[in-house]
Amino acid sequence: MEEKPSAAAISQAQTGRAEGFEELLKRYGQRLFGYFLRATGSYHDAEDLLGEMTLRLVRQIKSYDDHGRFEPWLFRIAANLVRDRIRRRKANPTRLSLSAEDESGQSLADDLPDRPSDVADGLMAREMSHKLQQAMNELDETTRNMILLRHFGGLSFKEIADTFDCPLGTALAKVHRGLTTLKKRLEGHKQEIIAEMM
């Protein structure tokens, strides 16, 4: 997660060269997609937001100050996109696609790697992914975003505290409690899933 961004790719992108942006997409695309998927719970939204993110990146890359770390800068833009999307969704509520297929015929579970050699494990992983999403949606928005920015964005706790304008100790306490809650909920679901599969 602590991979260093290529300064060359960033400066190429800042001069408007496609290779720079392609390199940044290669480096951060997977993590951004994961962040969008877990933050919105929708495959369709994640794909859409990744496209929007690249447009934002093209527009805003020149404003990136080389002295700061790139990842917090990048994932703050991503967090703003997610916040706007969630606000819009609250204003115009539509169904979420957690396990059900969305317009593109994809579901959240479909993105998980297929492991045909071990069907039981694959089903378990898919089900757990689905349950994780449900549990995440039950967390408050700030805690959920802190956990996601920490994991996908690789932000330090200091950067999380700065992003959410809260004390350092509060940021860690929220992440800790959030992770504990998620783990407890999923442990309970895991026993249920195992029992169902027997």
């Binding site: 997660m1 408007g16 496609a18 942006f21 392609e22 997409l25 695309g29 997977q30 951004l32 997609f33 994961g34 998927l37 877990r38 994640a46 794909e47 990744l50 496209g51 929007e52 993110m53 690249t54 447009l55 990146l57 093209v58 527009r59 994809q106 959240l108 993105d111 998980l112 790697p113 757990m128 992914s129 994780l132 956990i147 920490r150 994991h151 330090s156 706790f157 200091k158 505290a161 004390p167 350092l168 100790g169 509060t170 940021a171 860690l172 306490a173 992440v175 800790h176 992770l179 504990t180 998620l182 783990k183 999923l186």
Partner: protein
Amino acid sequence: MELNEEQYERIAQALDGRQVELTDEERQTMACIVRDEDWFGRTAHAAAPARAMGKAAASIRVALHGRTRIVRIIANVSAAAAIAAVLVLGIMMLIDLGRPVPVAPGSQGIPVAQLEKFIQPGEHQAPIKLLSMDLDRFEADVALMNMPESQASPVKNKLDSLENELDDFLLKNS
């Protein structure tokens, strides 16, 4: 176990890579957080499908192309505006050249001889000369208006004779 704000702050500093002295309780909590983060990383993993990455790459090309096009349009519009401004300025200057310029009282007029230095002799020489004479006369009229009566009569005589010369010239060239 429930930690207070200061304890969480120290753990956060340690997790961020700073050298911090931790108590046993804080170290245990830190180890627990690290384990939970690892667990979350494994469970939350979601690979982006090739289609999503392809669409994102396409958006980059579209955005870059769009920006280049906008820059090109702005450059073209700026160039066109500059050309138009130069043209308008040129037309205004041409119009101004054809109009007699009023001379301020007391200033020196442009003598015909000096004008002739700048104007190539040719088929338009006669009308230009006429125009110059006209200008001189206009200037003299203005000067006369501001002159005391005693000084005015010799100038007036001179002007009258100039007028006669002009009439003769016009008659010859008509």
